[in-house]
């Protein structure tokens, strides 16, 4: 368990929980778990291609590496395949060709039963939020810890604290349908980061929030990054990208290139 303070809001303190990696409840406070095997890349793509069914290739020949504790923006025009690339990263799809390693594991040869443990080390902020409609904001965020074996009562306070920090103190018990797009996005972000993942993937995480909240969200991601989380943020927001000195993984016509900070 670690304490994170944002540069903008020093008074806002948030507890980020160590993600339980077994079926046991979260353990006592301690340092973040190592992101992967010593020195190995958190993510490695080698000549990866991807298509949906028999459709055209969305990704053609993508190769890149995300080293431990790195922070990258994933940029590129609409339709370039950013969301598809993220789908490969959060293990929603398998590539049509090429090799993907996550935390040193070749995903294609990893037994299916071991994938949930890998997914629990990845926090994802989906573009469409993907909140469960009948659960409250508190329950949606807690779910990320509960699926790993934590009991709701054990995590309730931490989750409430996280929601207060993302500015949803008054909406803790609200259902997603009663929240605005920006509020839903913040719930999704809280769910993605509550377990202090080793890898954080965010698909347009600031698309529905104003600039001030967008900056706060990015600062939170940076704090997580400083604590050891590898971060990849897919965004269209050039202003945001230029506000942070992080390299860009630029996706053009199904292929990636690594660009220096904007």
């Amino acid at each position: 368990m670690s304490v994170v303070a944002t540069p903008e809001c020093k008074s806002h303190m948030v507890t980020v929980m160590e993600s339980p990696r077994t079926t046991e409840p979260p353990g006592p406070p301690g340092p973040p778990a190592p992101a992967d095997q010593a020195g190995a890349a958190v993510v490695r793509f080698e000549h990866v291609g991807m298509r949906y069914g028999a459709g055209p290739e969305i990704l053609r020949d993508v190769s890149f590496t995300l080293p431990p504790r790195s922070f990258h923006f994933l940029t590129g025009p609409s339709g370039a395949g950013k969301s598809s690339l993220l789908k490969l990263l959060y293990l929603d799809h398998l590539p049509s060709h090429g090799r993907i390693e996550v935390f040193g594991r070749d995903i294609a040869s990893t037994p299916r039963g071991e994938l949930p443990a890998i997914r629990r080390r990845i926090g994802v902020v989906f573009q469409d939020f993907r909140l469960i409609d009948h659960l409250s904001a508190l329950e949606n965020v807690a779910l990320a810890l509960i699926v790993a074996g934590a009991r709701f009562e054990q995590v309730r306070e931490h989750v409430a604290e996280m929601l207060r920090w993302v500015g949803l103190a008054e909406q803790i018990h609200a259902k997603p349908a009663t929240l605005s797009g920006g509020e839903q996005q913040r719930v999704a972000i809280a769910r993605a980061v509550i377990g202090k993942p080793n890898l954080l993937l965010a698909d347009e995480p600031t698309g529905s929030v104003d600039d001030a909240v967008a900056m706060r969200i990015l600062y939170l991601f940076e704090e997580l990054n400083k604590m050891g989380t590898t971060v990849l943020v897919a965004t269209h927001n050039d202003k945001l990208v230029s506000s942070f000195a992080h390299p860009r993984l630029d996706l053009q016509a199904g292929e990636t290139s690594l660009l220096p900070p904007a």
Binding site: I132, L138, A144, V147
Partner: protein, 294 residues
């Protein structure tokens, strides 16, 4: 979130609301079939036990008259009592013989003009091994027309009938279990379709298949247990009512059979049994469906 695994609102699924009713009907049928099988098994056990170590001799009425028939009876008794394997040989008087025919012949069985064979009830010594064919031959030699019945033929046919009834009851039980399992499978499939999006989210945030399956199997267990208890209650009420209605009707001694604790326990086990079958069916269905995903 009152419960830790209430992520899927299965309680509100319209598609699974019929499950308790199906299970109740299946448990009701299964309970009646099982009760019937146990009733027949108990009656057969009683018949077999009652006839073990016994023989019956039929002495046909002598055309020379009642005195001649009595003489034949005495001759047969003497022969039988002289046999070391026979513990006791007792002749039923004519009135008792006629009384045995009364259920078939009615009041006419007592008319003196109807000739009635005389019967000798033989009790064998414990562990006695009697050569029935030889004894029958000696009896016929002493009393022409005398017949020795070791009940084997009658008992064999009855046991065959009882076996058939038990097989049918077993088939009914299996069909009821299959129908209950199918109902749960369809309900689980409908649930998977209705909650596809939530299941996908759970999956992507790292939930194991078993985490999702547990929610379905828990729901199926509770629904089936509720249905099972209702079906069992209805079946017990029916059995008690039937016992009251037909208790006085003589039907191969079935009315004499009483259910013991073992029988009631077997019947009571149907409700949790149905719940366990439903739970297994739901788990299997969900795990099989989720296994198709990455």
């Amino acid at each position: 979130m009152a419960k830790e695994t209430a992520d899927l609102p299965l309680r509100h699924d319209a598609a699974s609301r019929f499950v308790p009713f199906v299970i109740a009907a299946m448990v009701y049928l299964a309970a009646l079939a099982l009760a019937g099988a146990m009733l027949v098994a108990s009656a057969v056990g009683g018949w077999t036990q009652g006839l073990r170590g016994t023989l019956t001799v039929h002495i046909l009425p002598n055309p020379a008259g009642a005195a001649a028939t009595a003489k034949d009876l005495a001759k047969a008794l003497t022969l039988l009592r002289a046999n070391p394997q026979v513990a006791a040989a007792r002749a039923l008087d004519e009135k008792a013989s006629r009384a045995l025919l009364k259920p078939w012949l009615g009041a006419g069985a007592t008319a003196p003009e109807i000739p009635v064979p005389r019967l000798i009830d033989i009790r064998l010594r414990r562990g006695a091994k009697v050569d029935v064919t030889a004894l029958a031959a000696r009896l016929r030699e002493a009393v022409p027309g005398a017949e020795l019945d070791d009940h084997r033929r009658w008992l064999g046919r009855l046991l065959g009938l009882a076996g058939s009834l038990e097989t049918i009851a077993l088939l009914v039980l299996m069909l009821a279990a299959a129908a209950a399992a199918l109902a749960v499978v369809f309900a689980a499939r409908a649930g998977l379709a209705v909650h596809k999006r939530a299941i996908e989210i759970l999956h992507l945030i790292g939930a194991r298949d078993t985490y999702i399956a547990v929610q379905f199997q828990r729901r199926a267990f509770m629904q089936a247990l509720m249905g099972g208890v209702i079906g069992l209650g209805a079946a017990v009420a029916s059995l008690l009512a039937m016992g009251k209605l037909f208790g006085g009707v003589e039907l191969f001694g079935l009315n004499q059979v009483r259910f013991g604790p073992l029988h009631w326990t077997a019947l009571a086990a149907l409700a949790p049994g149905a719940a366990l079958i439903a739970m297994a069916a739901a788990r299997f269905t969900v795990l099989r469906s989720l296994a198709r995903r990455l």
